[in-house]
């Protein structure tokens, strides 16, 4: 008993700590684990070497398709050659600076928004201003910019706009639907449930397809609504239904006592939602919400079925050129890398947000 109380014995034995201890415990604890460890090492070394050879050492970074065919490694030259179509789709070549500037503006606004201290009305106005400038840059027709119809918008800016406007518009709609579903007013509740279940019950592809093919049939003759806009509305509706269900989960997790305390203090329904209930409910649902956002970002590629060139579809189309067709793998890896950068950013940022919002509350 006295031994245990003594400081020297209360440390674990040296063999169980440090690098050696970790290795012994996790990789070499018995002969079977040893064998597995060596097998895994072998696979990693052999596979890693093949990958490095292909992607880096034997790769062709600059040159023509003929240079690529001569080489044995990856052909990254395809990305340089087709960069305009991959990134901007059918947007006119000589106007490439415009979608590039729009994309840069979007990324800057996004990075600025990550600062918690800047959250507030000015930032919201900043986002609206950014979207307007992006729209002007893309569309043209003013300030001496040549007009470019939405038919020709494509690539990365299209993916970013569809998903970010989708998320920004779907979020409040989703909140209202979640509150509606819990409402005590039967009609509001029924409408919310019907919308959520209907939209969640069909694939996004069919929502987009209906938006592009069926919807115009119901419009009076002569009235047309921009195809891009229709796709955007479809995406917003779709995301709103999923967000609503995630938020509803959060609302259910807020203890009843919180609602009662807010009522007893005389707060109105909307004030207690805004100040007491939603801040707690939303913090709980950050992980599923970010999951929905990441899913939406990737699902925007489904707009290809109604003939829009999002990033993935643009990349796919860019290698229709017979000379470069052989290098589809490299092109898709490029597309995957761009998607990954944005999705990984969202994922990391959500973890940061969770930590930030939990600060000070932990017991």
């Amino acid at each position: 008993m006295t031994d245990i109380a003594a400081g020297s014995v209360s440390r674990p034995p040296a063999a169980q700590t440090g690098v050696v201890g970790w290795l012994r415990q996790n990789l070499f604890s018995n002969w079977f684990n040893c064998a597995l460890t060596f097998l895994a090492l072998y696979v990693i070394v052999v596979g890693g070497k093949a990958l490095v050879d292909w992607a880096l050492l034997d790769a062709t970074f600059v040159g023509t398709f003929e240079d690529c065919r001569k080489g044995t490694g990856a052909c990254w030259a395809v990305v340089a050659e087709k960069r305009h179509f991959m990134l901007f789709g059918t947007y006119p070549y000589e106007e490439a600076w415009r979608p590039a500037a729009a994309t840069a503006l979007f990324i800057v606004t996004l990075l600025v928004s990550t600062r918690r201290s800047l959250w507030g009305r000015p930032l919201m106005i900043g986002w609206i201003a950014s979207f307007i400038v992006m729209g002007v840059l893309m569309r043209g027709g003013v300030l001496g910019l040549t007009p470019v119809t939405t038919e020709n918008w494509g690539g990365l800016p299209l993916t970013l706009m569809l998903s970010s406007i989708g998320i920004i518009a779907a979020f409040p709609l989703g909140l209202v639907l979640a509150l509606g579903r819990r409402s005590t007013m039967p009609i509001i509740k029924a409408l919310s449930v019907a919308f959520i279940e209907l939209v969640r019950g069909v694939p996004l592809i069919s929502v987009l397809f209906m938006a592009s093919v069926m919807f115009p049939l119901f419009l009076p003759e002569g009235v047309t609504i921009d195809k891009l806009l229709r796709a955007q509305v479809g995406i917003i509706m779709f995301a709103a239904a999923y967000i609503a269900e995630a938020v509803r989960g959060g609302l259910q997790a807020v203890p009843k006592g919180q609602f009662e305390a807010a009522d007893a203090l005389g707060l109105s329904y909307w004030k207690s939602m805004r100040l007491i209930i939603l801040p707690q409910a939303l913090r709980i649902v950050i992980p599923p919400l970010v999951g929905i956002f990441i899913g939406m970002f990737k699902d925007t590629s489904l707009v290809l079925i109604i003939g829009l060139y999002d990033l993935l579809n643009a990349v796919r189309t860019s290698i229709n050129d017979p000379n470069w067709r052989a290098f589809g793998t490299e092109a898709y890896i490029f597309a995957a890398a761009v998607f990954f950068v944005f999705c990984y950013f969202m994922s990391k940022y959500s973890q940061y947000l969770e930590r930030l919002l939990a600060a000070g509350r932990n017991r």
């Binding site: 006592g257 009662e260 305390a261 007893a264």
Partner: protein, 247 residues
Amino acid sequence: MVDQPFIQLNRVNKWYGEFHVLRDISLSVAKGERIVICGPSGSGKSTMIRCINRLEEHQQGQIFVEGIELTNDVKNVDAIRREVGMVFQSFNLFPHLTVLENLTLAPIWVKQMPKAEAEDIAMTYLKRVQIPEQAHKYPGQLSGGQQQRVAIARSLCMNPKVMLFDEPTSALDPEMIKEVLDVMVELAESGMTMLVVTHEMGFARTVADRVIFMDRGEIVEEDTPEEFFTHPKSDRTKLFLSQILGH
């Protein structure tokens, strides 16, 4: 009494489905009166006091607070909730806000009070419940007794004319009960009208003007603490008292 009663319940009835939870409850409370309500668990004590600020709806009878009748009219409900503060067994502090923000939220958003003024008032009440130094902590960082004192201060910030307490000390560790009761005794001495559901009989003896005993949805007995504890009339009261006093 010349004054009209501050709170009046006239033959109030309430059912949960088929279950008759409040039976013909009549009660009147004068301004400045301190009433302790006790009775076995499930007898409807919480339901009764929660009807007074409309956390629960009664189905028959009438409830008046300061002459305003509780009806489905949202205006009346709002008006009454401004006069009535409530303290819960489980504190129900807002965990995402600091202690100070918990206290200033309702004055700012319900009474449109300027923030600086609301904070001054909040600090006054935090001093009164002896924890001004915790103002910038979150509820989760406080002990149960401290949390309940914050909850009392939060209600007081709305300057209520009556305070309802629903078993304010039953979720607390024994060593923290006294610090909360002390605050409540001090509040009673300041002349606050109070309805307190509690089994703290010491508190009832020192503070209460009247003790009400409820059982199975009815008010069985109502008397001064002196009479209630020394000469209980009904058998149900005697049984209850023997259970909580005798060990």
